[in-house]
Point group: C2
Chain length 214, copies 2
DNA sequence: CGGCTGCTTGAGCTCTATCAACCCCCGTGG
DNA sequence: CCACGGGGGTTGATAGAGCTCAAGCAGCCG
């Protein structure tokens, strides 16, 4: 099985006629694209911007499940599982979206197997990531999970000013604990804090630290 | 999108010629089908038996990631993501397996879109489950997660004698804590312990308990 | 400048891991 | 037949990581 394509382009995946049926929309930061509990009516494609998939529990604890950046499909998980959205998708950075309604989605899945394959490959990677995080929740301590969150978020977008809150919601830790963990990592000279932003001093040492039994 | 098929049958999915190319094998409890770090060479189909996908960390902590029972594909996640297995698959109950080598897998994916679609739907459900567990790791207390583990494992196989160890490895809790949590649940009259086995007294009350903020 | 949101630090508490003892059940071998 | 051993389970005492609550600081924008 070949590597998943790193960059998607709707022009290459859809016919002109299909592309004419796309619904375009631009969302501003803070807006909600879909909410937990709603029924999927199709799938989306993100042309530009940054999105966060989060779960807000009744008691106020939030979880950051996934982040979407340039040129990926999203909303396909619930669509394929034929269940309601299990989390809420909000905009972190102004986003340009294309929506494929159910008819168009079915048509594209049926006519261009590359699309379904790509979506399946995306979920295969996301499932590995989720299960790795699951194992790390018991096996690794907070400061190690903070690093993994940092690496994931920086990988999604190097420049976005990720907050301690977002880091904590991704790795299952309170913001105060993130703050303390960052202090510890800085004292080990693995990262450097400059105002609110976090610079990685030595990525290799950082990854080493993840594998330490301590 | 229609519901994922509840029961698969290779006879309906593969041609006679393709079925002749399947590699059959029977595994006994305790045997390993594949190990973390190996490269996938194709995908598998489970005709009967019970399998556990587990991750064994260097420090001895184990995680139970997924359980497979009758008539499902497995090994497809790593195959589609084109990466190494991220966990180890072992046999809990004698299992009859069919293996599709790479050539056959590619051929089936290309010729019968239902197979890829089914595999994608399976991952869509698994991804939701993994992300729900992720949010519960922070939002819910141990006894609530024990219930979710119980419901998941009983759903996979009602009759299999799941151990406290397996329950704990699924929900990220030590066996002693599982034991104490079961005691608490019994005192609330939600479950009943009979020797080593666990009977659910009232599934509805059990599910209610999951949503309590306490 | 004021105000808001994010960040940091401290003190105390809680939940769960850890360590340890013991029981029960069952299979094995003398 | 009984002694033994091992795995699963339960229960108790203790310690520690991270949460909670609280206060104060820092960066950013009107």
């Amino acid at each position: 099985m070949q590597q998943p394509a790193t960059r998607l382009n709707l022009k290459e995946l859809l016919t002109d006629q299909q592309r004419a049926r796309l619904i375009s929309k631009t969302y501003r930061p803070g807006e909600t694209i879909y909410s937990e509990g709603e029924d999927p009516k199709g799938i989306f494609f993100l042309k530009s911007g940054i999105l966060a998939l989060t779960y807000n529990s009744e008691n106020g604890a939030e979880s950051l499940l996934r982040v979407f950046t340039n040129c990926v499909f999203f909303g396909h998980r619930s669509y394929l599982a034929a269940d309601q959205y299990h989390a809420t998708l909000t905009v972190l950075k102004e986003a340009e979206i294309r929506f494929l309604d159910q008819e168009l989605t079915e048509e594209v899945f049926a006519q261009n197997p590359k699309v379904l394959l790509h979506v399946a490959q995306t979920m295969a990677v996301d499932l590995r990531n989720a299960e790795n995080r699951l194992r790390d929740m018991v096996g690794k301590k907070a400061s190690q999970r903070v690093i993994e969150a940092l690496l994931y978020l920086k990988h999604k977008n190097e420049d976005f000013p990720w907050t301690r809150r977002e880091i904590g919601e991704f790795c299952g830790v309170k913001t105060e604990t993130v703050s303390r963990a960052l202090g510890e990592l800085e004292s080990l000279n693995l990262i450097r804090r400059e105002g609110r932003s976090i610079a990685i001093v030595d990525e290799l040492k950082l990854v080493d630290y993840l594998n330490e039994p301590s």
